[in-house]
């Protein structure tokens, strides 16, 4: 199943892969550690459980739903009736609370483990943008929208990914904190007060959920755009591609004098223009 990932240009590399071989050779480069892959994937079922049980809690009070509107114009209510009927939603508050308050701990543990991991391994550097990344983010977006040919210099993640992923971590932290403010507004009354009150904490909790949901959809689209080799890397841990593929060895994408030193590769993207046309290197936002 993994072989469908081959970039368009299947190479003549013979089976005894010479690891010091040419830039056209197909190799795989380690991208995500096992721990990182599992922490990433655990979020999916956990957030599904949390959102589903959270909906049951939210839906218990039908009298004042949150409304999405702009400048006084009501656009729709959360949730639009269609969502309710499409999900075959069964209102069941007791079960909602039971799942939410038990499974919530796993989301917290996973998040804490992830942040500790980033801190210990120094991998937060891949994610937290520096000033230049902040400046470059719009170039990435322009590139993704096909308004720009070249991409800004990047490390493991491009500037737009860095900003998005950092925000996702922050939003998750606020989501958890507002959850605790709601859950323990007696013992943690200072936390409730820090959010500006119970109502505000509930609204923040709900809003952060919506933001994560929006991120989720954008994430899916970007993963689909980035292609199979990119998707497979979050399962296998390795990115398959040509040795000189910038997605395999991002250093190859570097500027004019970016002499590539990675692992004995002799690849030269001579003119320094990242070969954005390479099928497997396009759109890396995942």
């Amino acid at each position: 199943m993994s072989t469908t990932a081959e970039p368009a240009e299947t190479d003549s590399a013979d089976t005894t892969a010479d690891l010091g071989g040419s830039g056209h050779e197909i190799v795989a480069k380690k991208k995500h550690s096992l721990a990182l892959r599992w922490m990433h994937w655990l979020n999916f079922p956990l957030l599904m459980i949390m959102m589903y049980s959270g909906m049951r809690i939210y839906w218990a009070d039908l009298q004042d739903p949150y409304v999405f509107g702009i400048a006084g114009w009501q656009i729709f209510e959360f949730w639009p009736d269609g969502v309710n009927s499409a999900l075959q939603f069964e209102r069941k508050l007791a079960a909602g609370i039971a799942f939410h308050l038990n499974f919530g701990w796993f989301f917290v543990l996973n998040g804490v483990a992830y942040v500790l991991y980033l801190a210990r391994r120094g991998e937060w550097r891949h994610i937290v943008p520096d000033v230049q990344s902040l400046r470059d983010a719009r170039k990435t977006v322009a590139h993704d929208l096909h308004l720009r040919k070249d991409k800004p210099v990047q490390g493991k993640y491009n500037p737009a990914q860095q900003i998005t992923y950092t925000l996702v971590i922050l939003i998750s932290a606020i989501l958890v904190l507002s959850g605790f403010a709601i859950y323990r507004s007696g013992q943690l009354s200072w936390l409730e007060a820090a959010f500006g009150g119970y109502d505000v904490a509930r609204f923040v909790h709900f809003s952060c959920t919506i933001l994560l949901l929006l991120f989720f959809f954008v994430h899916i689209v970007q993963v689909a755009r980035a292609g199979w080799a990119n998707f497979a890397s979050i399962i296998t841990g390795y990115r398959l591609g040509r040795r000189d593929d910038p997605e395999v060895a991002p250093a190859a994408a570097f500027g004019p004098d970016g002499t590539v030193e990675s692992a004995g590769s002799d690849s030269t993207t001579a003119d320094g223009v990242p070969d954005a046309d390479d099928a497997s290197s396009d759109g890396s936002e995942s």
Binding site: M1, A28, A60, H126, K156, R184, G186, S189, I235
Partner: protein
């Protein structure tokens, strides 16, 4: 000059980024095929196992209307939070000016068979007594409502009343501390793990209601027996003539119309706990 400095800076940044991303191991395509097959298989296996495990939780034998393991989880949660300061913790309070109207929500224990509120007349209120049962099952002297109102320090407290369904309102209660009353009428029971409060029984009562309160809530300074809401005597819908209020628990625990208190050291249950809710439902 500045241009050169800038280029040098950019070059340095590129070098750094390259360094950060160049540490990944490179393997041959054949090795990748082997490893990726293993990764996909273990991934799918664990995914299926996780899904089956979750179904197992959903379909597990129930304990008081929720899967057994989730009920255990509720109790585990409580043990986590009990390690944190509680007796000294205080819920936020507000000014009387902040008080709001509050809807009548739970009607349990207050309705007759037709679903109409059972009113408590003034004369009935004057002779209202709360029955008390000790841990060993003996009946103690009842607590007369008249004495509750006259013999203890009266507190006006304004806090946010929170319903488990999600709404909340800032309300103003007038009443006395439950702990003050119990110290006089059930001093030996103050060490009980639990107290279970019930609405008065009666043939005409549609659904008798009950609420179990742990020791710390029972003795907490913000747990009151209240007879006024927002400066007005309680209506039948809000639990006349006397009800329990505390900002440390959802409304479902703040029983309206208290008819009796029973003490116990064994884990009790109550109306909503039997229907799948957390026995503690604390904040």
């Amino acid at each position: 000059m500045t241009g050169d400095a800038r280029n040098a800076e950019e070059a340095e940044r590129e070098r750094r980024l390259r360094e950060q991303t160049d540490d990944g191991e490179i393997i041959s395509k054949e090795e990748y095929t082997k490893r990726s097959r293993r990764a996909f298989l273990s991934f799918a296996g664990l995914g299926v196992a996780g899904y089956l495990g979750f179904r197992q939780v959903q379909n597990m034998e129930e304990d008081e209307n929720i899967p057994r393991i989730l009920r255990a989880g509720f109790d585990w949660n409580e043990s986590v939070w009990s390690t944190l300061e509680r007796d000294g913790a205080r819920a936020r309070t507000f000014s009387v000016d902040d008080r709001e109207e509050i809807r009548v929500n739970g009607r349990h224990g207050l309705e007759d068979g037709d679903g109409d509120f059972i009113e408590v007349s003034e004369s009935e209120a004057e002779t209202w007594e709360i029955e008390v049962t000790s841990r060993n099952g003996s009946t103690l002297d009842p607590i007369p409502l008249a004495a509750v109102k006259s013999d203890f320090e009266v507190h006006d407290m304004v806090w946010e009343h929170k319903c488990i369904e999600g709404w909340s309102n800032i309300v103003h209660w007038t009443g006395v501390r439950l702990s003050d009353v119990l110290e006089r009428y059930a001093a030996d029971e103050l060490s009980a793990e639990w107290s279970v409060l019930r609405t008065p029984p009666g043939n005409d009562v549609r659904r008798e209601y009950s609420s179990a309160i742990e020791n710390y809530t029972m003795r907490h300074a913000q747990t009151l027996l209240a007879w006024e809401l927002n400066g007005e005597p309680l209506t039948a819908g809000h639990g006349s003539p006397i009800r329990l209020v505390t900002p440390f628990k959802y409304g479902i625990k703040q029983i309206k119309r208290v008819g009796s208190i029973e003490f116990t050291d064994d884990r009790p249950t109550d109306y909503w706990t039997e229907r799948g809710y957390d026995l503690h439902s604390s904040f």
